[in-house]
């Protein structure tokens, strides 16, 4: 297995479905990162994943800027582990929030949010667990890979 240095302080986002981490980087806000060290590992071996492969993202240092809200919606198997002084101190499966604000844009060209300036992109969880745009009720669609 490919070795990536252990991080001392930061977070590890693990059990990402193989091949989807690049799409996830955008949603997490990593695309605009200019300071933190970020490692992306694709197709790492996994005994838990049905495909036998997974992606992993490691962020060294302050990770508070990461937008983790969307993780649980994207993939319920994802885990987030906080690392302090080289040791995992907390591991969790993110819970899907009731509302997502300005994380994903509504893709419905008929939606008011597609033309209105300064209009927040807001999705709320519907009764069947899907996120829907509060304006047009279209289901949220995200690029997963």
């Amino acid at each position: 297995m490919l070795n990536i240095d252990e991080i001392q302080n930061g977070i590890v986002i693990d059990h990402i479905a193989a091949g989807t981490a690049i799409g996830l980087m955008d949603l997490l806000g990593i695309k605009d990162n200019r300071t933190a060290s970020v490692a992306l590992i694709q197709n790492a071996r996994s005994s838990k994943a049905a495909s036998g492969r997974k992606d992993i993202i490691k962020v060294e240092g302050d990770a508070s800027w990461l937008n983790l809200d969307v993780l649980a919606y994207l993939d319920p198997n994802i885990t987030v582990t906080i690392i302090q002084d080289g040791k995992p101190v907390h591991k969790e499966k993110p819970q899907p929030p009731k509302k997502l604000v300005n994380i994903v844009r509504c893709r419905n060209p008929r939606c008011i949010s597609s033309i209105e300036e300064e209009c927040d992109q807001i999705f709320e969880m519907s009764s069947n667990g899907k996120y829907r745009c509060i304006y047009c009720e279209q289901e949220m669609q995200v690029k997963r890979g």
Binding site: N108, R110, C111, I112, S113, S114, I115, E116, E117, E118, C119, S126, S127, N128, K130, R132, C133, I134, Y135, C136, E137, Q138, E139
Partner: protein, 313 residues
Amino acid sequence: MRHLIDPLDFSHEEICSLLDLADRISADPKAYCQVAEHKKLATLFYEPSTRTRLSFEAAMLNLGGHVLGFPSENVSSASKGESVADTIRVISCYADIVAMRHPKEGAPLRASRYSRVPVINAGDGGHQHPTQTLTDLMTIRRRKGRLDKLTIGLCGDLKFGRTVHSLIKTMARCKDIRFVLISPEELRVPDYIIKDVLEANQIPYLETRSLEESMPQLDILYMTRVQKERFFNEEDYIRLKNSYILTRDKMALAKPDMAVLHPLPRVNEIALDVDEDPRAAYFEQVQNGVYVRMALIMTLLGLEEPRAAKEGN
């Protein structure tokens, strides 16, 4: 302050109270001719409309109020690029209540978040049209004497037909309702209505392509127009526009007390000779629309019902 953006903004009980008020108004419209004196309704229509705008204006005038507004986007500041949020903040200074139609879905919701006066959704794109639904409910209740235990057929453009979406959402709260959804494959009811409304509430429904086969089981047939303005591609519109035409022959297959509703305008989806059939209720709907909008304006503005009308009923 309350708005009417989504048909579910009012509970079933509130809707029934509003329909009761609309019935009382229809029994004695003159008794209500001064209840909105000194009040102003702004009709903000970013999309052309004849009946809904005039129905709102007639409703306010019938109540003794005044109307102002614009009939299309071209004559408003929207053509200069003004946002909905800014427009409504300005109009809130001029009017006591607003009825907004907009081609973009969710625009009235956006407006309601910035408004200082009640906002009524008068139709937002292919999304919702709650006041048409109130009109439909009033007509159904008057024709059938109830809003429950009904098999409702919806026919035509069920994808972009906002009146269809609003009616399904609202009727889904009534007991023993069954829907028959009759449309071409391309114009099926959107996924969010199927999953979040029908399946989530375990409401029986059937999706079918055949109007003829559906006719005998229906208590209500809700016809819709295939709307040219909702298509990005005119070729698709031309291919689908004549999918369903209700004729006298097809009416012969229906129950003798079925009611035919249509939000209007129609193009050719109901043959003219069906108008003479006593089961045709679509022009009655238009009249009911004025009464129900009068009741809605009174409710949102918290206007007192005239004593004479209350005592007379």
